[in-house]
């Protein structure tokens, strides 16, 4: 039971780090890292629940999350390159500004 709480607290801290990255960082690569951290925090929690309580359905969701993270990475890099082509930068705020200027 203590092991589950340790994993849960680690997952919550990882989630917090990822949330801080998403809300405070302004370039695409760090936002991308942060999103992966958010997803990994959830996977860690589900894996821990599966290990300590035999919650096998949580593991199935963890696999789905990994697949979604892969798709999200591919889409993220596409948006990243497109933003770089339009604005010459990798800052999402400036992408919006470049569109509104035109």
């Amino acid at each position: 039971m203590v092991g589950f709480y340790i994993d849960a607290i680690a997952a919550i801290i990882l989630f917090g780090v990822g949330l801080y990255g998403v809300t405070s960082k302004s370039d695409f690569l760090k936002i991308f890292f942060s999103l992966e951290m958010l997803l990994n925090a959830v996977i860690l929690f589900l894996a821990s629940a599966a290990y300590h309580f035999g919650l096998t359905r949580g593991l199935a969701i963890a696999y789905v999350i990994i697949v979604i993270a892969t798709l999200e990475a591919a889409a993220g890099v596409l948006i990243f390159i497109l933003a770089n082509r339009i604005t010459g930068e990798i800052i999402p705020d400036h992408l919006d500004k470049a569109v509104s200027d035109e």
Binding site: I12, V17, Y20, T23, A69, A73, I86
Partner: protein
């Protein structure tokens, strides 16, 4: 051992966001994902651990390295948003309080029977319909937004 791996993973996660150069940030990110994969293997979830290592330290990091070739060796300067810290602090405190408010878990140390586990996408087709609706709506919104951006970018 498990605590050490988790603490190292969290330190590497913080490092990957605070580095000013791109390559050390990517290396910290890779090591964090690798450590989490090793941790899953220690927990007995071998397939999940191997999946984690193959997908994250293999596929996703190659994509981020491709991004690094676009950015260069240094991250651009950005404006710091001070309200982010307060939001994150509130969320973390909220999430940390929740486990201690829950009553004792009845299945401590033994597997929960399948009939008592949370059922997702198994009983009601409406759940699948709602899920697919949300996915379709987000893809549609993203496509429209992207087309709009492309149109204004080309003009």
């Amino acid at each position: 051992m498990s605590v050490l791996i988790l603490v190292l993973a969290i330190i590497l996660a913080v490092m990957s966001l605070t580095q000013k150069n791109t390559v050390p940030a990517v290396i910290a990110f890779v090591l964090m994902m690798f450590l989490l994969g090793i941790y899953y293997i220690f927990m007995g979830e071998k397939l999940l651990g191997l999946f984690q290592i193959f997908v994250y330290t293999g596929g996703i990091v190659v994509l981020t390295l491709f991004g690094v070739t676009v950015i260069g060796s240094k991250f651009p300067k950005y404006e710091i948003r001070p309200w982010a810290v307060s939001i994150v602090t509130l969320v973390i405190i909220g999430l940390l309080i929740v486990p201690f408010l829950l009553p004792d878990i009845p299945y401590e140390g033994k597997a929960i029977p399948l009939k008592d586990q949370v059922k997702i996408f198994t009983d009601f087709y409406a759940e699948i319909a709602i899920f697919m609706g949300v996915v379709a709506a987000s893809i549609l919104y993203g496509s429209i937004r992207m087309l709009h951006t492309l149109k204004h970018g080309k003009e």
